[in-house]
Amino acid sequence: MTASVIAIIQVNIGASLTEPVEAILIGAAIILILSAVIVSYRIVFGPTMQDRVIAVNSVGTTTVVVLALLAAALDRPGFLDIALVYAMLNFLMSIAISKFTVERGGVI
């Protein structure tokens, strides 16, 4: 099954790399994924809990942008719906953690 998924991805990217705009979209997505991996240093070694929450929030917003870039590059508009839901869940995660770690919870 994983081999078929990899084959589908290779076919899609290979078909889209003939256009320069799609190649730039894929390159920007790769750079943003690498920066998200670098940000995960702060998730592992962050001194306080809030450092980790901010780093997780940054990784989530980077994921939203990568999904939008892939929706444009691979010509799959369904990825935008996933990006919208992911952005809403990311915001709710940050608000919920910051609200329930304080005593009386009036953070907004």
């Binding site: 943003l32 998200a36 306080t48 917003t61 508009p77 940050s94 608000i95 953690i97 907004i108």
Partner: protein, 110 residues
Amino acid sequence: MSPLDIIAVVLILAGTFFGIVATIGVIRLPDLYTRAHATSKSDTLGIVLTLSGVALVFGTGVTTAKTVLLAIFVFITNPTAAHAITRAAYDQNIAPWTTDTEIKPEGDDQ
């Protein structure tokens, strides 16, 4: 490449640059509050620029409307989330980072 594509590519590259700046800020800055400053400002600007480029690539249609909606949503909620997290941290008495030598305001001769 049409001029619209060139504008989209420039917007996407500028957004990627601001994303890299936000990454460097999260890793290098000394404090929780300064790191939140990096993610809430620089990351938001990069996201809005990149999503504007993606909207230009999509042309006209429902997908462009979805992309613009996503950009507006992230533009509102990302600084709000950073504000909530830092306010929770301030309520838990996490001290902000300061320099050792305080700068006195002018006219304070004591």
